[in-house]
């Protein structure tokens, strides 16, 4: 999957500098990233998926504006004002009444929470959690992978062992164990509990996703570090840090981008899954939580379940397809 090292390619900075000073070649060089971006732009699936993802990102960013535009409010208690005490469904909106602009997706059974607001803020939670933890795990993966790959001897062995330990630890079990610990620490303060849950969830998702990237990068670095340009850099005394981040890293862009684009949807699903199991976020809206609550009442109020499910499906599908396209685009061996 990795790129061959650049030879006559002037994209890398140090090569650029050298090239500029030596000769003015007529061949116009393009970086692999640029090649990939051009390929992506021609890929219809990728463009559509990017549009879908952009939509969700905008929804997440402008959640407060959207809810205000629809005139709904997030979790405006009490429910008894909007809930029919006999049916425990809303007095307006689905499932018992027709569509209303006051509550476009209806209100939640029992609590009377507006479901559009829940959905919009649930989208925000999903994207926020997934993006932060994917970014963090990518960073950790890069650093550990580079260090392990480049250092020979004990540091490599140590880091490989750590990677193996984390790989062998079951993710769900870890999440299940962590929840009670967090609850017992922050039990007394609901606000802090909400924050703790949020960051703990990100922590759990991060801790259990960085290892494949670290391994991948370590393997890539193994082969790259014997190449001439690295050897040359070492010979002329470039500091290790600079070799790692300026010489090696640009050659690893492809696996990193691919990892990022494939892990992001996986974490959206994981967040929803944990919320469904009751060990995710409870103090803020989340799609998984809505699924958890609504699944029993699917027969009477299908829209309640459909909204978050369609949200998850659309987002995850778009992210996955885009991820595939990115992988294809970065892979020099594919020609489409």
């Amino acid at each position: 999957m990795a790129l061959p090292p650049l030879e006559a390619d002037e994209s890398l900075q140090h090569v650029d500098e050298v090239a500029q000073t030596t000769s003015e070649t007529a061949i116009h060089g393009r970086s692999p990233t640029r090649i990939a971006m051009e390929r992506l732009r021609k890929d219809k699936v990728a463009v559509i998926c990017a549009g879908v993802i952009l939509f969700f990102i905008l929804v997440a960013i402008f959640a407060p504006l959207i809810t205000r535009a629809f005139g709904v409010e997030l979790r405006s208690y009490p429910g008894s004002e909007i809930i029919d005490i006999n049916t425990t469904y809303g007095k307006v909106g689905p499932p018992d009444h027709g569509f209303t602009w006051d509550h476009p997706l209806g209100v939640e059974k029992g609590t009377g929470n507006d479901l559009l607001a829940e959905w919009v803020y649930g989208c925000r939670t999903s994207l926020l959690v997934a993006t932060i933890s994917t970014t963090l795990s990518t960073l950790i993966g890069i650093v550990v992978g580079l260090l392990a790959g480049f250092s020979r001897g004990w540091l490599d062995r140590g880091l490989t062992f750590v990677i193996d330990v984390f790989l062998s630890f079951p993710f769900i079990l870890g999440a299940l164990m962590l929840a009670p610990i967090i609850y017992s620490h922050f039990a007394a303060d609901a606000e802090k509990l909400g924050q703790a849950q949020f960051w703990a969830l990100i922590g759990v998702l991060t801790i259990f996703t960085w290892m494949p990237l670290a391994r991948l990068i370590r393997g890539e670095v193994f082969s790259l570090r014997e190449r001439e340009f690295i050897q040359a850099a070492r010979v002329i005394g470039v500091p290790t840090r600079r070799i790692l981040f300026r010489e090696l890293l640009p050659n690893l862009i492809a696996p990193i981008v691919i990892f990022y684009s494939l892990v992001l949807p996986a974490l959206v699903t994981a967040e929803a899954g944990l919320a469904y199991l009751g060990i995710g976020l409870t103090e803020r809206p989340s799609w998984g939580q809505t699924v958890n609550k609504s699944v029993q009442f699917f027969e009477e109020f299908p829209l309640w379940l459909w909204a978050p499910v369609l949200g998850i499906i659309a987002l995850v599908l778009a992210l996955n397809l885009l991820g595939d396209s990115i992988r294809d685009a970065f892979d020099p061996k594919t020609r489409r």
């Binding site: 208690y77 049916t87 009670p180 609850y183 609901a190 060990i279 609550k293 029993q296 009442f297």
Partner: protein
Amino acid sequence: MHLRRLTVAVSVAALGIVAACGGGSDDSGDGGDGEFVEGGGAGALWNENAEAPAPEIEGAQTGGTVDVWGTSGLQSMHPTEAYFTNTTSILSNLVTRSLTQYRWNDEAGAMELVPDLATDLGRPNEDFTEWTFTIREGIKWQDGRDMTMDDMVRGIEASIDNHADGAFPNGAQYSRTYFKGGEDWAGPYTEPNGGCDCVSVNGQDITITMARPFPDMPYWGSFPAMGPLPEEAESEDVAAYGLSPWSTGPYKFESFDPGTSQLVLVRNEFWDPDTDPGRHAYPDRWEFDVDRGDPTVVDRTFIEDQGDTQTALTYDNVQQSAREDAEASGRLTTGPVPCTIFWYMDTRKPEWENIDVRKALGTAWNFDDYRLATGLSMGLTAIPGTMILPPGLPGRKDPPFDVIGNGGSGTGDPDKARQMLEAAGALDTPVIFAFDASDPTQVDGKNTIVQALEEAGFDPQPRAVANADKEDEMTQDPDAPVNLRHLGWCSDWPSGSSWFSPVFSSEGSSNYSYLSVPEVDQKILDIESKDANAQPPLWGDLDEEIMTDYYPVIVDYYTANAMLHGSKIMNMENDEIRGMPTFADIWIQQ
């Protein structure tokens, strides 16, 4: 009594079946077999003149197999240890006989206590410290052998082994508490060489001597533990006997697998209906399969009513998600269960010392939003109320008293509560309670409480716990850092003694408001030593006195049953003593 699979003090979170989800509609409620009636006469009925055999049920047909489905499993089926509502009910109605029993009284629409192995409901001495029962002749074991008086003594004495270190750690402990010498003897299994002077035999008479007055003995006599055990029960190991207890009743065990909770009962040809004033035995066979996974699936199957389901029934409550369809099906058996769910205020804590502050909490309490958010099926399986004694308990005040004046429902009166708090100088009184943070409906419920109490000037401090078990742990731990506990209590028999002594006396096992008032303790003792028939109005008065003068609890709601059955199951009523179907009266339409 234990609810199915639950411990005596039932936390509401643990009542998952009841509280799992919200909903349903009252509009279609007319379809049910019977609407819930507040204050039905219930087990106050004693009928010591009931004659054997039990009167025929009009139109009843013999034969067929009844399937019983459930999701909560079966615990110990050893007659001495059976103390869950389902095991007690199955054994008493179908398999084992005891001194007394309950039977359905169709006119009253309630259960009545009638004789069983005894010919009457027992003859007490003056101060209820000695009870004599005359045992019927001609009772046979399932192998045709005569049941002897030795078997009776063996069975009754075995119940003394019902204690934490005994052979039956989960059994009811009344024999140990009340029988003379019961506390000093570990029981015949644990201490084979010991003994008590509590049970003596004279011809067909069996006399039980008590350490202290026990007017409720006839009720305790209806438990399977108060029946005979064969010699084999002693020679066999206890667990093995529990897998196939010997029958004196209309059915015997064919097979029982405790792992999957599958139990098959077939006819016991040695049961003689002419000796039994309570039981009918119309079906030929009973097949219990009561550890099925998903209650929603069970509900759906009953609502579809296809094939085998037509001759099946369940004793699990219908889920709120299926409430509308269940009510429309007309195959829903409803009725009270003697349980009250309370919010206990910890009266030991300084913030609750002032009764005005406690009443302010009751005034501020937002019943409706909490019930909606936690998805209670109000009016079907949860009934609002203001009194300690649930509907069906004798002596319950009618018309009901209402200390706060909101009828136990509504969204609370924050302004009035705030005034009360200001008057008491107790603004920002902390209200600390546990909630199960893994259950989104509990989180929603917590949010409604927080909102309502903040509005009224309290300082609500919900404490998150990781799951329902942890919530149980916290609410039942007297030293837990909470001052408001959400727990329920169910009575073992329809008498106030089964309520006030455990829940409101300072020594009570389930006194989670930690109320400790010598006058109340004394009153409870006084009433308990009176004749069972004289007690009910006194319990009613005490109920009002405790709520008016001490207000240690907010009455949240009373539980009720709503059980589905197939279209060919006839005559299924709600046994309001145990909250189970009246197994002994059910027949199948051929």
